[in-house]
Homo-oligomer: 209 residues x 2
């Protein structure tokens, strides 16, 4: 069986409409063949000019995950500090996804794999060219009951992350994504109606016009 | 039937492994119900903190598409000029995808819909937060035989695009994507093997290590 055939066990609509950000993980390892299918699907994604300016680092070693988890925690709080949130008490009551993300920052090292989605060059163009692959990664993971979430680092840890993983100076880490089997229960995703985020022939919503 | 059920007519592996950049289009319109399913799937994508910092403009009106097509053409050549490519004669012989993209820049107005994928704020963080939705858009389109490609604009046209579509100053256009029914024949995508773009516990490929 090919990767495509194994991914055919889930239909597209189910994969997309049951996908949600997973931020609580069991420590159970992801089998290598499952991880391979996920990554084979990842590199099928569109990318700018088919230049494939992407590089993926699968962080599997427990020691390396521990070090990355520490940097992730520091980066997460550095991002909050940029927004004036200095500790848990500053998180607005309604922001349950921020509370969930805060917990992830404490326990991301539990996830059996962390993927550094990198671009081989700096800048927005290279970044924009590699991100669609992350969505293929998450949809393919969904087919195997594996979850994850898109997450980013912060410039405060950039140099140390580059050093730890031997990432070249000219490259950039675009996402730092945990992957693993979900722990606990998860509700469906909530989205604003299309009419609020989509316009026809102009900005301002009102879809379908 | 729901959008999810209609998307279930294609399995995930087939959608991902038959997806490819489509840059030649028939002028045939995309029915509104198909476009709606594509957009409903688009907003299921993960996004940073579920802040849904996205805004989509579906450019359907022929006059507006014509104006955007002109700006797209100018932007495409401005990007090439940044890379020292001043005309068709400067495109390296091996770069067939650039030749194909050049043709798209000439005829993007043929596509019945152009989608401006926008972020409601400037900067890399907002940009990175909305791009996964574009891959949902293309995969959902695939279920209906509709194709498209990720494409970007260039700062040289930014102000005019903002004016034309009433895009707020603080927002940004992340992708300018044509959508339509493919014209002609298309081969499969070509990708480097995973061993060249993926490493385990460090940069440098060599997957699976």
């Amino acid at each position: 069986m090919t990767t495509a055939e194994r991914l055919n066990t889930i239909p597209l609509g189910e994969a997309m409409f049951t996908q949600r950000a997973i931020r609580r993980f069991k420590p159970d390892p992801i089998p290598d063949d499952v991880l391979d299918d996920i990554m084979q699907a990842t590199i099928r994604a569109p990318n700018g000019g088919n230049n494939q300016q992407w590089h993926f680092i699968l962080v599997k070693d427990a020691g390396m995950r521990g070090k990355l988890a520490e940097l992730y925690h520091e980066a997460w709080w550095a991002k909050r500090a940029d927004a004036g949130i200095m500790g848990p008490e500053d998180i607005p009551p309604g922001k349950s996804s921020m509370r969930s993300a805060m917990r992830l920052a404490n326990e991301i090292g539990v996830a059996p794999v962390m993927v550094l989605v990198c671009a081989t060059a700096k800048g927005a163009q290279a970044m924009g060219s590699v991100i669609p692959s992350a969505q293929n990664m998450l949809l393919a993971a969904r087919a195997f009951g594996v979850g994850g979430t898109i997450a980013t680092l912060h410039p405060v840890v950039e140099e140390r992350v580059h050093q730890l993983f031997g990432i070249p100076e000219e490259a950039q880490v675009v996402y730092c994504m945990p992957l693993g089997y979900p722990r606990g229960e998860f509700g469906p995703v909530q989205r604003l109606p299309l009419a609020e985020v989509c316009g026809v022939d102009g900005w301002g919503g009102g879809y379908p016009g």
